[in-house]
């Protein structure tokens, strides 16, 4: 599904990612953990193609295709989805209208006609029920006046609507109370299949109680310094990140 080879990326001349190697296969869930400032969010932005970051070396390969010259919207059309840590507000644009536009742009890229309104409504109903989203919520302006939990739930709703091949959830657990976390995690688990993959970027182990990863990677100072199974997350929770940092130095 996704291969990252010796990825180096910098912003305004400052190198943030310093040689990342990662392989994610279909059906897998990977967790990327690490202390603040280790480069977790940069990694997700680079995979999504944010141009603010310069890829100075290495490759991001999706299903065999090098993404170097692929625009963010094309990456989206190819099945990459990023659940943002801080979703932006777009006043006056309803959640429904935004999703309708996104879905139809994706269809246009695949040479399909717009989705008929009837099918669109059905899809919206189905996915919003799955995520226990109030219908009234969908007619509100995108992320405007949303609580932290509502914003994250809305991100997962969009993921459900777009059915990506590779979903990157950037700190989706932050700002969620325990009920919202359960709903969001249930949603992600329902969307998981043998054909798609999920990368969870998180600071805490908490989310991993609900979405169980196949692999856990620790990112520190722009590099993956340790990889392991789900038990690594528990170890981190117990010991903190300091021992990893020390180990990395050695």
């Amino acid at each position: 599904m996704l291969q990252i080879k010796n990825l180096h990326a910098s912003v305004e001349g400052k190198e943030i990612l310093k040689g990342i190697n990662l392989e994610v296969k279909a059906g897998e869930v990977h967790a990327i953990m690490g202390p603040n400032g280790s480069g977790k969010s940069t990694l997700s932005s680079v995979i999504a193609g944010k141009e603010e970051f310069d890829v100075t070396e290495g490759q991001v390969i999706l299903q065999g295709e090098d993404l170097e010259d692929v625009s963010p919207e094309e990456r989206s059309h190819k099945g990459i989805f990023l659940s943002f840590q801080y979703p932006v507000e777009i006043p006056g644009v309803s959640v429904t209208n935004f999703m309708k536009t996104a879905i139809n742009e994706g269809r246009k890229a695949r040479g399909l006609e717009d989705m008929p309104a009837k099918d669109m409504l059905k899809l919206i109903r189905e996915k919003s029920e799955m995520l226990e989203i109030d219908r009234k919520f969908l007619s509100r302006s995108l992320n405007q006046g949303f609580s932290g939990g509502e914003k994250k739930r809305n991100e997962i709703f969009q993921m459900a609507m777009l059915e990506p091949k590779l979903a990157i959830l950037d700190e989706t657990d932050s700002g969620l109370d325990i009920d919202a976390l359960r709903i969001v995690a249930n949603g992600v688990n329902k969307l998981k299949s043998k054909d798609n993959a999920v990368i969870l970027i998180t600071h805490y182990q908490r989310l991993l109680d609900y979405i169980v990863p196949d692999f856990v990677h620790v990112l520190h100072n722009g590099k993956i310094v340790k990889s392991g199974g789900k038990e690594l997350a528990l170890e981190l929770e117990e010991k903190g990140y300091d021992w990893i940092k020390n180990e990395a130095v050695v």
Binding site: A48, G49, K50, E51, E52, S71, P72, E73, R75, S76, H77, F81, L82, F84, P87, V88, I90, P91, G92, V93, N97, F98, T101, A102, E105, G106, A109, S141, Q158, L162
Partner: protein
């Protein structure tokens, strides 16, 4: 590609005016320059009665002594009024023509504008009175309207057929002495629309007029008069596009609305005059005087989507004379490249319990300057008057400007006046968010701009809202297709 603001700006600058073409129609054009003889000649050409000629001459004499106003936040080379031809009519104009007889070149022009007469006819609910240059060439739905007693015709015909109405109301809201451009218009207007809705009649369709500047160097001076008699209702749509020209073209229209007791007028405008090229060369000067009078319990709503013109100077206003009357102003003004707009409204509260609402959305891109200028005046007799104003500005890039000049004059202690203003910017983060969901940058800008403008777009009649949305996209997107 994800866009940095730098690239975004570049893309906006490269957007060319889509309607820049020139139709070669033989015109009957007056020599350039303005004096009493020209004014008389226009009047004669129109076969006008003496009272009309006298009215024009009086206006001309007033204009001669007036100075061009300079208080607006716009900078431009003043037009040379002696270098303009004040009359131009398409030839082959047969008063007995049917739509099928219209000059094929004209029809081609409408097609380019997406407003072909055929298309309009199919819309069924829109009666169109099209002004090309200065003479109306096509009128539809006259019969349906006639059955209700509604008069909808070129103002030149109204002067002949309904002199009593024209005489009574023309210049009653915007007197010839009102301002420099209104005086000029009064002297030299060649055509425009006239509309009268009889007592208690609800006009069954949206009335629509398309104005167009065609002949090089010909200013266009329309005159519009809408009278809604007691208890009547009318929704009037006005849309403008113009072909691209190198020299500046002057457009100085006057619109007068009269809403008698319990009447309601909705007046919607989509304005897309040529804005000049991306270096700021050329473009239409749009100096318009629009004013409405509201009698008891009457209501007037001005809705405007302004995307064109190099320089705009326009303040559709309401005189709330009657008790309980209501004035509304909903505006979207878009400026790009070197465009300058100074637009807003005046709400003059004279009657008791009068209410006014102002919603203004300014969108600036490129190196443009976009100003809102509004006056809310509560007179001493206007007990319990209320006003709510909201002025929002959206900026794209770092070189444009947004300005707000609200003037409030309250002479009655019971007045309630609220004013809200916001300024925001389309950010890279918003664009990237949309991109990540598969929405390309152009579409993302359109989405964000439409969201920003929604409160005003919602006030437009359905068929016009679609056109307005299209215009917003054309004005602000990068090269489409």
């Amino acid at each position: 590609m994800a866009y940095t603001e730098e690239e975004l700006k570049k893309e906006l600058e490269t957007k060319e005016y889509e309607y820049g073409f020139y139709t070669d129609i033989e015109s009957d054009t007056f020599p350039i320059g303005l004096n009493e003889d020209i004014v008389r000649a226009i009047s004669k050409k129109k076969n006008e009665p003496e009272w009309m000629t006298d009215w024009r001459i009086e206006a001309y004499r007033v204009w001669e002594k007036m100075e061009e106003p300079e208080w607006a936040n716009v900078h431009y080379t003043k037009p040379d009024f002696q270098a303009i031809s004040y009359y131009s009519a398409p030839k082959k104009n047969d008063p007995n023509k049917s739509l099928d007889d219209v000059d094929p070149e004209l029809l081609e022009m409408y097609k380019k504008l997406g407003i072909s007469v055929d298309e309009q006819k199919k819309l069924q609910n829109v009666a169109v009175d099209i002004v090309v240059d200065s003479v109306s060439v096509a009128t539809t739905f006259k019969k349906t309207l006639g059955e209700k007693g509604i008069i909808f015709m070129p103002i030149s015909e109204a002067i002949q057929e309904h002199p009593e109405l024209v005489k009574k109301y023309m210049g009653s809201i915007v007197p010839t002495t009102d301002n420099f451009y209104a005086a000029l218009n009064s002297a030299v207007f060649t055509d425009g629309s006239f509309c009268y809705i009889p007592k208690g009649v609800r006009c069954p369709m949206e009335l629509s007029t398309y104005f167009r500047i065609n002949q090089a160097g010909t200013g266009q001076f329309e005159r519009t008069l809408v009278i809604a008699d007691e208890g009547s209702y009318v929704s009037y749509l006005e849309g403008c596009t113009a072909p691209s020209r190198d020299e500046n073209q002057l457009h100085a229209a006057v619109v007068e609305l009269i809403a008698l007791d319990d009447a309601e007028i909705k007046y919607s405008t989509v304005q897309n005059w040529f804005p000049g090229n991306k270096e700021g060369k050329g473009g239409v000067y749009n100096f318009v005087t629009k004013r409405a009078l509201c009698e008891k319990n009457a209501k007037v709503s001005w809705t405007q989507v302004e995307t064109g013109s190099a320089v705009t100077w326009k303040y559709p206003s309401c005189i709330l004379k009657g008790d309980n009357s209501i004035g509304e102003f909903y505006s979207i003004a878009v400026t790009n490249n070197y465009q300058q707009a100074d637009t807003g409204t005046k709400m003059i509260h004279l009657g008791k319990n009068t209410r006014s609402t102002i919603i203004s959305k300014g969108i600036s891109a490129g190196k443009s300057q976009n100003s809102y200028r509004g006056l809310v005046q509560i007179n001493s007799r206007a007990d319990n008057a209320r006003n709510f104003s909201q002025c929002d500005s959206l900026l794209m890039g770092n070189e444009c400007g947004a300005h707000t000049f609200p003037y409030i004059e309250a002479k009655n202690k019971t007045a309630q006046i609220e004013h809200e203003a916001t300024t925001s910017k389309i950010g890279e983060d918003q664009i990237f968010y949309c991109n990540q969901r598969g929405i390309p940058t152009e579409k993302a800008i359109a989405l964000i701009v439409n969201g920003f403008s929604k409160e005003v777009l919602n006030k437009l009649p359905m068929e016009f809202a679609v056109e307005a949305q299209k215009l917003l996209e054309i004005s602000l997107e990068g090269s489409v297709g």
